[in-house]
């Protein structure tokens, strides 16, 4: 049962990272234009060099 001392914090930490990522995504408005983002992947504009 000692393994619980590691497993529980680990599971909380992983969940917490997920939650933090969700917060970040909300704050930076990642969900404002889901359709546009899905389509933007397909443009070839920045294929050869990264966007400056």
């Amino acid at each position: 049962m000692e393994i619980l001392a590691i497993l529980i914090p680990v599971s909380l930490l992983l969940g917490g990272i997920g939650l933090a990522a969700f917060f970040w995504a909300m704050k930076t408005k990642q969900f404002d234009d889901p359709e546009g983002d899905a389509q933007r992947i397909l443009t070839k504009e920045w294929d050869d060099h990264p966007k400056p």
């Binding site: 529980i8 599971s11 909300m26 234009d33 389509q39 933007r40």
Partner: protein, 731 residues
């Protein structure tokens, strides 16, 4: 954008003077920010190529700092130097094959920053995270963790669940407090009570090393209820943003002549006495008197008349009318809030205020439900206090279990899930539901009243029986019509073209604003235009007249019915509804359209007040009326009807007064809307029954003290999932 957001909710400061200075600065910053920001609507954008075309083309325009397309909202926002005008950018996009319309960014701000939605989503995310973690620990307890391990798990659960309930439960606590202060017992009171009681009893039990703790139930409750609330919010936000976009498409600007120079100005900055220029094809921005020019004006949106009215020096025009042929200069008599357009809108506000508020199914359910839950929980507490001889801990445990199990997870989710699903379906068919209860009201409709011009018809004239005219007259008329942009002339030229008429050769074609077009043929003047000008006798319907060698020919027009109008009328009549046509237009065109669409009850020359009176009369007969109309003359009837629909081309006032907006040209979705409305009401009732059924099984268990946290969790998640699935069943 952050400036705009912050400004929208300036906190109440303790010292007003301190707050005023930065606020003034902010307003200044806001102005410059907003001036440079141009918003264009891109109705046709749909793919990655569209994005790069639009962004590339705009970035190449000098003065444009940045352009970003939002494909979900089909908009592009442009940050540009102040001298870049929207018209310029629209022209650039048109050259690249992209249709664009200017939007008024001031009207869009509210939806750009959907603060409330983001806030709810944030709480929902937190509740989901804790639900998962607490559930993980609870499963361990349910499967037999004992003594110290169980207590440890309970403590960890408590440390996750308590902050979550405090954070995620705030929307419920706030609204429960508000309703308590107003002396009502809303749905949020038992919810808040359950959340608080479940958390506190669990902490106490954990402290005492008790066997049962309800942390998982409390968090799950918060999650499911927040989900329902978020769905509800999103449906409303989508409708509001689409409605705002329609309003924002009409940018309130007018051309003012100042010392002989044309200046574009916001309508709010126009004062009585100013001179305003209205180009052909534009809508009158203000009330005024014509001081220069001659033209014809289309008053159909205000009165329903399909026949254009002649306007010359001294004619009074009102805001909302459309100038057809020649440029007009107006001296403004009333602008903005004082214009007749706004006064009509005020009438609508009065009519809406008088309308009895519709109590939705959910409200009725909640009214029944809240007292019942409290009584059940308190009587369980009282009974067990008496039966156990004063065992407070046991009695509170039971009453908490009753509150948790009866808690309206499914109730809070049942209606929003159905409305979200139904309005999503209707939106894809081109109908925008502005009000959630509109679906329920639509389901009860048994009489439909249609307006004619602009609603059942497109407001686009179509020539009748062209081939019955002599070929020579047709050829001359086609040649004259080609020289004008008047809607009748355009329709005639188009009709002649499809009939294969070769226009005659004429010389010296010129348009006489307000009268018609004339040209010279074999040395003689030929005219196409108004009856009196051509020396013809006027027909009782929309027509244009040709004077050819002293002989007159009348070309009659009919208004083209909206596509799908016949199908919609037929489907509504097949569903057993009484369909009526009330129009402000003259008798001949109304009779003809009614015959064409198969409507037997019709009336022509109806005044706005009579339309509203007819709605009231039908309501008095016990009928539920659906009003479909687009003009200012319909607004009172739209507001008075049980439920109302207006097309997107309607005047702003009419769209505001109606519950549903028809976005496309096709009218067939109206029949669908009624069907989906009926179906969704049925689903809502089913959902109430389902969640009621779970309660009937689970509540007795809770009352006798046999409901374990496991049973509560099962009942809650099962009923929530079944109602959501049932809502998806809409077709």
């Amino acid at each position: 954008m952050t400036l705009v957001e912050d400004f929208g909710r300036t906190p109440v400061s303790a010292c007003p003077a301190c707050a005023a200075a930065p606020a003034a600065e902010r307003i200044a910053a806001l102005r410059t920010d907003r001036d440079a920001r141009i918003m264009l609507s891109l109705p046709a954008a749909h793919c990655a190529a569209c994005i790069s075309t639009v962004e590339g083309a705009l970035a190449a325009v000098p003065g444009v700092r940045s352009a970003r397309v939002n494909l979900t909202r089909k908009r592009v926002s442009i940050d540009a130097a102040p001298d870049v005008t929207p018209a310029e950018l629209i022209a650039v996009l048109a050259a690249n094959g992209q249709e664009a319309h200017e939007l008024d960014p001031g009207l869009l701000n509210a939806t750009e920053t959907d603060r409330q939605g983001r806030d709810l989503l944030m709480r929902l995310g937190v509740a989901f995270f804790s639900m998962m973690n607490v559930m993980l620990l609870s499963v361990a307890v349910w499967s037999g963790a004992e003594a110290a391990t169980r207590d440890l798990f309970h403590w960890i659960s408590a440390s996750i669940a308590l902050p979550t309930v405090i954070f995620a439960g705030q929307p419920f606590f706030r609204s429960a407090w508000a309703s308590l202060r107003a002396g009502r017992l809303g749905m949020d009171v038992p919810i808040s009570l359950a959340l608080i009681l479940a958390s506190s009893i669990s902490v106490y039990e954990t402290w005492m090393s008790g066997k049962h703790a309800y942390f998982d139930a409390a968090v799950m409750l918060a999650f499911f209820l927040l989900l329902g609330r978020y769905l509800d919010h999103r449906t409303r936000a989508v409708a509001r943003s689409a409605a705002e976009e329609l309003a924002a498409l009409e940018v309130p600007r007018a051309i003012v002549i100042e010392e002989g120079v044309e200046v574009e100005r916001a309508i709010s900055a126009i004062n009585p006495g100013d001179t305003v220029l209205v180009r052909p094809g534009a809508r009158m921005p203000v009330d005024g008197v014509v001081i220069h020019g001659a033209s014809e004006v289309d008053r159909s949106l205000l009165t329903g008349e399909s026949l254009p009215v002649q306007a010359g020096i001294g004619t009074l025009v009102s805001a909302g009318e459309v100038n057809l042929t020649g440029p007009l200069s107006l001296r403004v008599t009333a602008a903005g809030k004082d214009s007749s357009l706004h006064r009509m809108a005020d009438l609508v506000a009065v009519a809406e205020g008088a309308k009895t508020r519709y109590t939705s199914l959910a409200d009725r359910a909640a009214r029944l439900y809240s007292p019942l839950v409290h009584i059940l929980s308190f009587s369980a507490f009282g009974y067990w206090m008496w039966a156990t001889g004063g065992d407070l801990r046991f009695a509170i445990n039971i009453s908490a279990a009753v509150l948790i199990i009866t808690c309206p997870c499914a109730l809070g989710l049942a209606v929003p899930a159905v409305i979200t699903s139904a309005s999503g379906k209707l939106f894809r068919r081109g109908l925008l539901i502005k009000d959630g209860t509109a679906l329920e009201r639509l389901a009860e409709v048994d009489a439909v009243i249609f307006d004619k011009t602009g609603t059942l018809t497109l407001g686009v004239p179509e020539p009748v029986a062209l081939s019955s005219h002599p070929a020579e007259a047709l050829a001359v008329a086609a040649a004259l019509a080609a020289g004008s942009s008047h809607p009748l002339a355009r329709a005639l030229a188009g009709g002649a073209l499809t009939d294969g008429v070769t226009p005659a050769r004429l010389e010296d074609i010129r348009e006489v604003p307000g009268h018609g077009i004339e040209g010279v043929r074999n040395g003689k003047v030929v005219r196409l235009g108004r009856a009196d000008w051509c020396g013809a006798k006027a027909l009782p319907q929309t027509a244009t007249y040709l004077n050819l060698d002293g002989q007159t020919h009348a070309f009659a027009f009919t208004d083209r019915p909206r596509p799908g109008a016949a199908e919609a009328v037929a489907a509504l009549q097949a569903a057993g509804m009484r369909v009526e046509l009330l129009s402000g237009d003259s008798e001949a065109p109304v009779r003809e359209l009614a015959a064409r669409l198969g409507i037997t009850h019709w009336r022509a020359g109806v005044l706005p007040a009579e339309k509203a009176a007819r709605v009231a009369a039908l309501s008095a007969e016990g009928r539920r009326v659906l009003m479909v109309g687009d003009g200012l003359n319909d607004t009172a009837a739209l507001a008075a009807a049980h439920v109302s629909i207006s097309p997107a081309t309607a005047l702003d006032a009419a769209r505001v007064a109606s519950d549903i907006v028809l976005l496309g040209q096709d009218m067939a979705p109206i029949a669908d809307a009624v069907r989906i409305g009926r179906q969704s009401t049925r689903r809502m009732v089913e959902n109430f029954l389902i969640s009621g059924g779970y309660n009937v099984v689970a509540v007795p268990l809770a009352l006798v003290g046999m409901a374990t946290p496991l049973a509560a969790a099962l009942a809650m998640s099962l009923s929530s999932i079944t109602v959501s699935l049932n809502a998806m069943r809409l077709k």
